[in-house]
Every structure is written in structure tokens, then in C-alpha cells.
């Protein structure tokens, strides 16, 4: 196991593991160790904590404040968070990869501990006592034996900075003494949101602000020929039609005027068919030139496979998925000669400010970028691109401009979760254990974050074809290796240089797709061995923590040990399925168990119940954690059952909620969660892990119910019927 995950990391595991490398900085920013960059003690007794991460709707603003309040012995309401502002907060690169609590949280925890130590040293001098004679409560330091000798944090600091490095030597509070971390603190943002207070980038209004809408090309390879400005001449309030290369936007005094102008502007385009036919997508992915990374090699796969008593082989398919944020992207920009101010719901304020500066041809320090929350994005949606559109339009009219993408803009132009092909081959030995395991995945890179102008849609449209590629391929290796102890195995990642549709990160990157394939194939192996699916996994899983998670899920689900499928043929068939993953092979551990009902005459799948067991180390906020696990489970179920971006050789055809349906209330199952708290282990992220196990658990449950194996997402009725017709077992 150790060897295996070590190899996986070397070949391209977590960016955070490459400490000091340029790649790491490109992704996670340049972390400062200067205490005042992280914390300020304000004269009114409150504390401001600065994080370069941003709130993406997962509740990290509250979780980080909990960490600071805990370490500084302050009530939570006296901690304010300032996040994602290029003039005020540290550069922490992108908010991604479920890394906020572990990276920003750990930096803030160390900074708060350093601040507390400094304050205690200062108080010892002022109160004429040894530091060990002092106690702290709610930001008030007093002498234990003489409580009348006391001084507050604010009095000690007098509004001055610490002028000190965070050395990492300050003692951290023992987790057993926690009173704030580990409690289900209510999220600070919810009261405002339910009352209709301005909370989102879409709600930001500046004096003199104009409204912008876009007129995008009708297909990705279309070229601008001409436009007829007379077609919008009569529209009241129209300020300007901006056309630069293939970029077209309209700016008007009022939002409805901008919308009308965008609809009415007549533009002639030269279109080209530039996409592979959708029915050939997986063949296309398998036939392109690739860069191949062998991420695990253990034992001798070839010999073990040849000697196996039972040999199996299967291919699995993942289509393009849309992030499909409920609120289409929006941004506000005010481009002035000497100062450019941008408000955006970007996951990466610093990298985006650099890309926008490049787009405008100005030095990066001229761009002040402030993050404002948007609708949930789950990775890279259109938010960075909307910011670029806003600066282009504001520059053209010399006034602040708010750009609102349409629903269709978002579906068509947001980067998609990449389509992938996964192929597995393996063999069982005479005892029915896995003797040989070969796993290969074909995928474009999962990372195309905007850190230069050519990665932004506006940059690409203005300057001709750019590439969204980040410069290195990343993400498809995530959870390509399993944590099972297979004696002979190989795991290979084949990266395509380009993606047929613009692609970038979606929650867990390749983690969900690889787990769908690995855990489906593991189930196929278990069935071939005539073994119970949970027992078969436990047989190959040595780690006690991992076993505990799988066992906890099985117990909660009332798992009955028996092989699948039982050979019954019913019109309404019920079944259960399990899937297990150790996220990124060393982060949170998850096991999901699905209970499904399949209507074998229509192929319709109804998921009735999901049980999820989850271990992410120390739990910061149990209710916030459950919220994330529920959300991950429901969203990934929507992806598994319903979602697929449809396109033809010309253009994307998924443009609205009819052509890209998602799960509705009537289709949502009950979700039961078992949290396993490990107070002595570091807190790791929970924003993504539970998104990985749903699809395989459901596919395995469909097999258990019907004997039909679905290997292509989404599991639509037609596809389930096809699988039923293809034969059982």
C-alpha cells in the first residue's frame, strides 16, 4: 500500500505534495509566514482573519472562523473573515480540491496559535507574571491567582501589528479542550440569504453601473464576418455594441435593454463543424495520441493474469458533464485608466487578476480583484470568463459594467467535466482473490484554470484560437489507483493533449469517474468469485481505518452477506450495491451503499436509500459536514442517473434545464450518514470525497437487482434496458 500510493503521488498526485515546486505555486499560491498577513487584533476587541481561499457555498467561511476563535480563545462572533481579496488577503491560489480546511485552516490555526503566544508573552510583561500564571477567556488575559490583574487582546495590541513571523513553534491547543471546533455552529451567511439580503455577485450594484450581455458565436469554431448595428438602433438605453474579433457584447443602461439588444443584434458568422460526432465520442477518446503515465506497477501483472483461474475485462464510459450552477455566471468590473477593480465569484482571485491584467495589457498590480460569492460552482464554471467579459465591456465604455451570462451562455461556454474512458482487466486466483489488476484511463486534463488571458473565453474570442490547457495535465490520475492490496497490478493514465469540448475541473476531478470504474470492476470480480461484495472488499483491504468505514456503512445499511445477483427475474426488482474509496488514496475515506428499485420493463431506476459512512479525520463542524456529504451524494446521483452534455459536430445542444435535466425533489432518495470522528488525526477536506462512490454503488445495486451491468453514465432507462437485453450475469 505504502509503495503504491507513493508511486501514485510521484506520477502526479496532489499538487500540495510537490512542496516548493513551480507547479505547486501555480496552483496553491505563495503562502506567507508573516503573522500580520493572516490576523489583525482590532481596537474593538474583534479579530479579523485573512484567507486567500473563498466561500463557494460550502460553509468554509464559518469553519475557518471556528478554527481561529478556538485557537485564540475568543467567542466565534468576534472573529470576522476577509477572504479572496488581492489587496488584503494572502495568495492561496485556487479554492479547490477540498483543501481549504486543511491548508488555509492549518495556516490560520498556526497563525492564531502564534498570535496567542505573542499576546501571552506581552501580557506576562505588562501584568508582571510568568506566562504559566496566566489564563485566557474570551480575549481577556488574567493572572490565575489574581483575577483583578487583567488585560484584553485589544489593549495589548493598541491597534498595532504583530511584526512577527509564524514559526510553527507556538503550541497548538489540544483537541480535547475544543469548545468551538467540533460543534455544529450555524452558518453565518444563512440568515441574510433567507431574508433576501444582497449576498451574491449577482446582487452587487455600483453607482452609475451599466448592464452587459454577450452575443456568443453560434458554435465554438465560428468566425465573425459582419454585424448590422442598425438591427439594434431603435433600442432605448443602448450604450454600445462592442466587437473585437469573435467577441461581441452589448452594454445598456438597463438590464432588460441589454438583454433585448443581445437578442436582436444581427450577426453573420462563418460556421465550421469542429466536434467529433457524439456517437463516436468514446472511440475518439481512445484513438487520439496520448501522453502515458504508469502510476502504479507492482508485481508481474502479465504472468499473474495469464495464470489466473478466472479472467475478466470491462470498459466504462463517462460523458461530459456540466457544472450547471443554478445562477449563471456574473461579474462586475470598473476599468479606469489607473485602477481596475473587479468583483467576481472566481475560485482563484490572484491567478485571475493576473490573467485579466494580461488581457488588458496592464501590470498585475493594477488589478484589484475581490471575491464575492456566486451560486455554487463545484469546480470551474463560467465565473472567471464572466469577469473577463466584464473588464472588456467596462474598458470599452469607461464605466462600471455588470455582465450577466444567460442560461445558455453558462451551459455552452462553461468548461465541462471531461469525458473519459476507463478499461479494467483482471484475474482471480483459485481462492477467488484478485491476483492481477490492470486499470487504464483515457482522459483530457481536468485542470484548465484561468491564469493567462488565452485560457479565458474572452481572450480566445478576441485573439483567435487560444487553449484552455493549464500547461500540464492533471486530475485523471485521482483515485485511478485503489487502496486494495493486489499482489500484481498496473495503473496507467493516458492523457489526451486536447479535449473535444472545453474542459476543466469538476468536484473530485477524475476521482468520481475512476471510482465508478474501479468499484464497478471490483464488484464484477466479487460476483465472478461468488463472494459477498462487502466481504470481498474487506478481504483486500488491510487498513483498519478503511475497514471501519466500510463496516460502518454495511451495519447502518443492514447489509445481508450474500453474493450478487441472486438470479431472480422480477418486473420490479430491488437490489443493493456498495462502493468504497479512499479519496486521493490518503485523504477522507468513504463507503456508500445504495438501495435501488429497477422497473425491468421500462429500465427506470429509482434510488430509494443511500447510506454513507465518512471518515475525514478531526471533524470541525458535524452539521456542516453532513450538509456536504448529503450534497455530494445527491449531486453525484443526479450525474449518475440523468446527466450528459449532448452535442453534434457543430455545437453543444444541452442549453437549458430541458436539454440538461438534473435530479428533482421527487427523485431524491433518503440519505443516511455515519460520521466517524478521529480527533487525533488532522482534519482533511470533505467537499469532494462523498461525490466519488455514488455512481458505482448504484450501478452495483442495479446488477444486484437485475443481473444487468451498466457501464456507461448516465444510467438512463434506455441504457438500463440495453444492459438487460445484453444479458444477465
Amino acid at each position: 500500500m505504502a509503495k503504491q500510493s507513493g508511486q501514485a503521488n510521484k506520477a502526479g498526485g496532489r499538487p500540495s505534495d510537490r512542496r516548493g515546486s513551480a507547479r505547486r505555486e501555480a496552483f496553491w499560491g505563495q503562502l506567507t509566514t508573516w503573522l500580520d498577513d493572516w490576523l489583525a487584533i482590532n481596537p474593538d476587541g474583534t479579530v479579523t482573519a485573512f484567507s486567500g481561499k473563498v466561500e463557494l457555498g460550502t460553509g468554509v467561511r464559518t469553519a475557518l472562523a471556528q478554527i481561529v476563535a478556538e485557537e485564540l480563545d475568543l467567542p466565534l462572533e468576534r472573529v470576522q473573515m476577509v477572504m479572496g481579496d488581492t489587496e488584503r488577503t494572502p495568495d492561496e491560489g485556487y479554492t479547490a480540491g477540498s483543501m481549504t480546511v486543511s491548508s488555509s485552516g492549518s495556516a490560520l490555526r498556526n497563525a492564531a496559535a502564534m498570535a496567542r503566544l505573542t499576546l501571552l508573552e506581552m501580557a506576562a510583561e505588562r501584568l508582571d507574571a510568568g506566562p504559566e500564571e496566566l489564563t485566557v477567556q474570551d480575549g481577556l488575559i488574567s493572572v490565575i491567582q489574581h483575577p483583578e490583574r487583567k488585560i484584553t487582546y485589544a489593549e495589548l495590541m493598541g491597534g498595532k501589528p504583530f511584526n512577527r513571523e509564524v514559526t510553527g513553534d507556538a503550541p497548538l491547543k489540544d483537541s480535547k479542550a475544543y469548545t468551538i471546533v467540533g460543534t455544529s455552529t450555524a452558518r453565518a451567511d444563512i440568515p441574510g440569504k433567507v431574508a433576501g439580503q444582497p449576498s451574491f455577485i449577482q446582487d452587487l450594484r455600483l453607482p452609475g453601473m451599466l448592464h452587459g450581455r454577450l452575443v456568443r458565436p453560434p458554435s465554438p469554431a465560428a468566425e465573425f464576418i459582419s454585424m448590422d448595428e442598425n438591427s439594434v438602433a431603435g433600442i432605448a438605453g443602448l450604450v454600445k455594441v462592442v466587437q473585437r474579433g469573435n467577441f461581441i457584447g452589448v452594454v445598456a443602461e438597463r438590464e432588460e435593454q441589454a438583454k433585448l439588444a443581445a437578442q436582436q443584434l444581427k450577426v453573420e458568422w462563418r460556421e465550421k463543424a469542429s466536434l467529433p460526432p457524439m456517437q463516436d465520442l468514446y472511440q475518439f477518446l481512445r484513438s487520439r495520441p496520448t501522453q502515458d503515465n504508469l502510476v502504479v506497477e507492482q508485481g508481474d501483472y502479465e504472468i499473474a493474469y495469464k495464470q489466473a483461474t478466472r479472467q475478466l475485462k470491462a470498459s466504462y464510459y463517462q460523458p461530459f458533464h456540466a457544472h450547471a450552477s443554478i445562477g449563471p455566471s456574473c461579474a462586475v468590473a470598473d476599468v479606469k485608466e489607473d485602477q481596475i477593480t473587479v468583483w467576481a465569484s472566481t475560485p482563484g482571485p490572484y491567478p485571475l487578476s493576473g490573467a485579466l491584467a494580461q488581457l488588458l495589457g496592464v501590470p498585475a498590480e493594477k488589478v484589484h480583484l475581490m471575491h464575492v460569492e456566486g451560486a455554487g460552482s463545484y469546480g470551474q464554471n463560467g465565473s472567471d470568463d464572466a469577469a473577463a467579459d466584464a473588464v472588456i465591456l467596462s474598458q470599452a465604455v469607461g464605466r462600471p459594467v455588470r455582465v450577466q451570462w444567460s442560461r445558455e451562455d453558462e451551459f455552452v461556454w462553461e468548461p465541462k467535466a471531461p469525458a473519459m474512458v476507463m478499461e479494467a482487466q483482471g484475474g482471480l486466483d483459485a481462492q477467488g482473490n484478485v491476483a492481477a489488476w490492470d486499470y487504464q484511463v483515457w482522459s483530457p486534463s481536468h485542470v484548465a484554470r484561468a491564469r493567462s488571458s488565452e485560457q479565458l473565453v474572452a481572450g480566445q474570442l478576441i485573439n483567435g484560437q487560444g487553449s484552455s490547457h493549464f500547461g500540464f495535465s492533471f486530475g485523471a490520475e485521482r483515485n485511478a489507483p485503489t487502496n486494495y492490496s493486489f499482489p500484481n497490478q498496473r495503473v496507467t493514465v493516458h492523457y489526451l493533449a486536447e479535449s473535444p469540448l472545453r474542459a476543466s475541473s469538476f468536484r473530485s476531478l477524475g476521482g468520481a469517474e475512476n471510482t465508478f470504474a474501479n468499484e464497478s470492476f471490483m464488484d464484477e470480480m466479487a460476483a465472478a468469485a461468488g463472494a459477498d461484495a462487502v466481504e470481498f472488499r474487506l478481504r483486500h483491504l488491510a487498513d483498519e481505518r478503511a475497514r471501519a468505514v466500510l463496516t460502518a456503512a454495511a451495519e447502518k445499511a443492514g447489509w445481508e452477506r450474500r453474493p450478487s445477483w441472486q438470479g431472480k427475474k422480477q418486473q420490479l426488482a430491488e437490489g443493493r450495491g456498495v462502493a468504497f474509496a479512499w479519496y486521493e488514496n490518503d485523504q477522507a475515506i468513504v463507503a456508500s451503499i445504495a438501495r435501488v428499485q429497477v422497473d425491468t420493463s421500462s429500465g427506470a431506476v429509482r434510488v430509494k436509500r443511500m447510506v454513507v459512512a465518512h471518515d475525514c479525520g478531526l471533524i470541525i463542524n458535524p452539521d456542516g459536514l453532513k450538509n456536504q456529504i448529503e450534497g455530494n451524494t445527491i449531486q453525484s446521483l443526479s450525474r449518475a442517473l440523468k446527466e450528459e452534455v449532448v452535442f453534434d459536430e457543430w455545437r453543444i445542444k444541452s442549453v437549458d434545464w430541458d436539454t440538461y435535466p438534473i435530479l428533482t425533489f421527487s427523485e431524491v432518495p433518503e440519505v443516511e450518514i455515519v460520521l466517524i470522528n478521529r480527533p487525533d488525526l488532522p482534519a482533511v477536506g470533505a467537499g469532494e470525497p462523498a461525490t466519488t462512490t455514488t455512481a458505482a454503488a448504484v450501478a452495483n445495486a442495479i446488477f444486484d437487482a437485475t443481473g444487468a451491468r451498466v457501464r456507461q453514465i448516465p444510467f438512463t432507462p434506455e441504457r438500463v434496458k440495453e444492459a438487460l437485453q445484453a444479458g444477465r450475469g
Binding site: 463557494l56 457555498g57 460550502t58 460553509g59 450555524a186 451567511d189 444563512i190 440568515p191 440569504k193 433567507v194 431574508a195 433576501g196 439580503q197 444582497p198 449576498s199 451574491f200 449577482q202 446582487d203 450594484r205 432605448a236 438605453g237 438597463r254 438590464e255 432588460e256 438583454k259 450547471a324 450552477s325 443554478i326 445562477g327 449563471p328 460569492e373 456566486g374 451560486a375 455554487g376 463545484y378 450577466q404 444567460s406 442560461r407 452539521d623 456542516g624 450538509n627 456536504q628 448529503e630 450534497g631 455530494n632 451524494t633 445527491i634 449531486q635 443526479s638 437549458d656 434545464w657 430541458d658 438534473i662 435530479l663 428533482t664 425533489f665 421527487s666 431524491v668 433518503e670 440519505v671
Partner: protein
């Protein structure tokens, strides 16, 4: 553009200077400065823009202001009475029933309308009432719990 239309929003009458075919959503947000109703799809498919017209939940992203007539429009903000949150709003806080919170406007408006009409709905009635409101974060189960909590809070108020 010079037409003047009177709209009653959250108990107050407003003289609106906008084209009669302007969608109610833009007037609420940009003329009246309200932030409860959100633009989600512009095609009446997601529920983010929902408001109450009378006691009925209505999608405001397409509805021309000229068709609102004398009906009273209530937005998320208008559910608050004398600084007190409406029980449905309180229930969403109690159950922490959002993640990003962008869709929460429509969820609360739909729930308020449902509970006025049907104070003790069945599970099926709740799901049916909310099926036109999309949530991408997967907060559905919390929202369903919030509806039950709101039912309870409203019944308690009624009993007082």
C-alpha cells in the same frame, strides 16, 4: 419606455417607469433594489426568480409588468413582518437548509404558498410543490426537513 405602471410590492405602491413588457424580475431587482428573487434561467424552468402574486407562487423572469395589474407582489423580503422573519424563513435557518443559497428564495416562496393553502401537506404534496424548484447543491433533504419544521412553527403560531 415612458409608460408608467403602478405595482404593489411588499405592501407599498410604486410608480414604475419601464417598458410594459419588461419582466417583473428586472423591475424588482433593478428598480426596487430587491435581492430576494434571482435570475436563474430566464425560461421559467428553475424557480430562482419566484415571487408571490397574491398567494400564488409565480415565476417573475418572464412575466411582463403590464400583466401583474393590481395584484399584490410579495418577495422574500416582504415575508418579514416588523423585523420578524416569517416562520418558513426561520425554519430554513433552523434546519441549515442551504448550501450556496442561490435557490433558497424560490424554495421559501414555494413553501410559504404551499403551507398557506395546505397547512399539513403529505410528503408527496411537498415534493410536488417543490418539483419546479431546482437545487444544484443537493440540499433537497434539508429543504424537506425545513418544510416540516415550518409546518410546525406555523401551527404553533396559529394555536397562539
Amino acid at each position: 419606455m415612458s409608460d408608467e405602471i403602478v405595482l404593489t410590492v411588499n405592501g407599498k405602491a410604486y410608480y414604475i417607469k419601464a417598458a410594459p413588457d419588461t419582466a417583473l424580475l428586472y423591475v424588482l431587482r433593478n428598480e426596487l433594489g430587491l435581492s430576494g428573487p434571482h435570475f436563474g434561467c430566464g425560461g421559467e424552468k428553475c424557480g430562482a426568480c419566484m415571487v408571490l402574486v397574491g398567494a400564488k407562487p409565480v415565476l417573475s423572469c418572464h412575466l411582463p409588468i403590464s400583466e401583474v395589474g393590481r395584484s399584490r407582489v410579495t418577495t422574500l423580503e416582504g415575508l418579514i413582518e416588523e423585523g420578524e422573519l416569517h416562520p418558513v424563513q426561520q425554519a430554513f435557518i433552523d434546519e441549515q437548509a442551504t448550501q450556496c443559497g442561490y435557490c433558497v428564495n424560490g424554495m421559501i416562496i414555494s413553501t410559504a404558498a404551499l403551507l398557506w393553502k395546505t397547512p399539513h401537506p403529505s410528503d408527496e404534496q411537498i415534493k410536488e410543490a417543490l418539483d419546479g424548484n431546482l437545487c444544484r447543491c443537493g440540499s433537497h433533504l434539508r429543504i424537506l426537513r425545513a418544510v416540516r419544521r415550518a409546518e410546525q412553527l406555523m401551527a404553533e403560531l396559529e394555536a397562539q
